[in-house]
């Protein structure tokens, strides 16, 4: 059941992206950028946590969760250090995603030959 929910919710988020690309002629970079902003905004109202609870990976795998966890890290640190904490905590939770993207991206680029 949780697989089905993840499939449906994750698929629907991708459908929104596809519609933006086809009808509004947005480039992939524009789509992902707006999705990250949308994730941060939704989390600002506390809605994204509910979506994650409902759909699991269907909500954590799309790029919208990047904006959500940026804000979550910022708010967690802000509770302890006030305003300055927002700057301190912003990358706290997404550090795994960004550092692994840098590491694996670099290793693959060194080891593999460009194709096509």
């Amino acid at each position: 059941m949780e697989y089905l929910l993840a499939f449906i919710v994750g698929g629907l988020i991708c459908v929104v992206g596809q519609l933006l690309m086809d009808f509004c002629k947005l480039t992939p970079a524009h789509v992902t950028s707006s999705f990250v902003v949308a994730g941060a905004l939704l989390d600002g109202f506390g809605l994204y946590d509910q979506l994650i609870q409902f759909a699991g990976a269907g909500a954590t795998v799309p790029i919208t969760s990047f904006g959500h966890s940026l804000l979550h890290g910022a708010m967690a640190e802000a509770e302890q250090h006030g305003f300055i904490g927002i700057a301190m905590g912003i990358f706290q939770l997404t550090s795994a995603g960004i550092s692994s993207a840098i590491l694996f991206g670099f290793i693959v680029a060194v080891l593999f030959k460009p194709k096509g």
């Binding site: 949780e2 697989y3 993840a6 919710v9 994750g10 698929g11 988020i13 991708c14 459908v15 992206g17 596809q18 519609l19 933006l20 086809d22 992939p28 970079a29 789509v31 992902t32 950028s33 707006s34 990250v36 902003v37 994730g39 905004l41 989390d43 600002g44 994650i52 699991g56 990976a57 269907g58 954590t60 795998v61 799309p62 790029i63 990047f66 904006g67 966890s69 940026l70 804000l71 910022a74 305003f83 927002i86 912003i90 939770l93 997404t94 795994a96 995603g97 960004i98 692994s100 993207a101 694996f104 991206g105 670099f106 693959v108 680029a109 080891l111 593999f112 460009p114 194709k115 096509g116």
Partner: protein
């Protein structure tokens, strides 16, 4: 798209070619994006369940290792040239999940490999994916500030 004023001739031409331009197959594209995007999320759910069962994670923290694992898989697939083929088929279904972020990072680095490790690979690593980080950080900062102020006053 461009904001320049078009001459009457140019406008006339634009109207004329409109019915000749190919229309994207909207429904088919949407169905493909839904299938592939949903499938990637279902695989993510499987990885999440693996970390929940065998490692010390809970529902809140399991997103992190899941995303990192998907990034590893997507980077490897990009290296083998498979992810581009998936992308051609799936459109947004391969761009919106976090695997698309990994593909953007890896493919930009691979493309500039011939320019050397420092100026090629390292400099261009975030050429495509940087926008996501910039907009994410800026929006999270602004929303965070607003929420913090809101909490202080109410």
């Amino acid at each position: 798209m461009s904001k320049q004023k078009l001459t009457p001739e140019q406008q006339e031409y634009k109207e004329k070619i409109k019915p000749l331009q190919p229309k994207p197959p909207y429904l088919l594209n949407v169905a493909k994006a839904f299938l592939v995007g949903g499938l990637i999320c279902a695989i993510g759910q499987g990885i999440s369940n693996f970390y929940l069962t065998f490692f010390n994670f809970n529902e809140q923290t399991v997103g992190n290792p899941t995303v990192a694992t998907l990034i590893l898989i997507a980077a490897l697939l990009t290296g083998f040239g498979v992810y581009d083929k998936i992308g051609q088929f799936a459109g947004a279904g391969s761009i919106v999940p976090v695997t698309g972020f990994a593909n953007a990072v890896t493919s930009a680095a691979l493309e500039h490999k011939s320019e050397g490790l420092v100026l090629g690979v390292a400099t261009n690593l975030f050429k495509l994916a940087g926008a996501v980080i910039v907009f994410g950080a800026v929006s999270a900062y602004i929303v965070g500030m607003l929420r913090y102020l809101f909490q202080m006053w109410f």
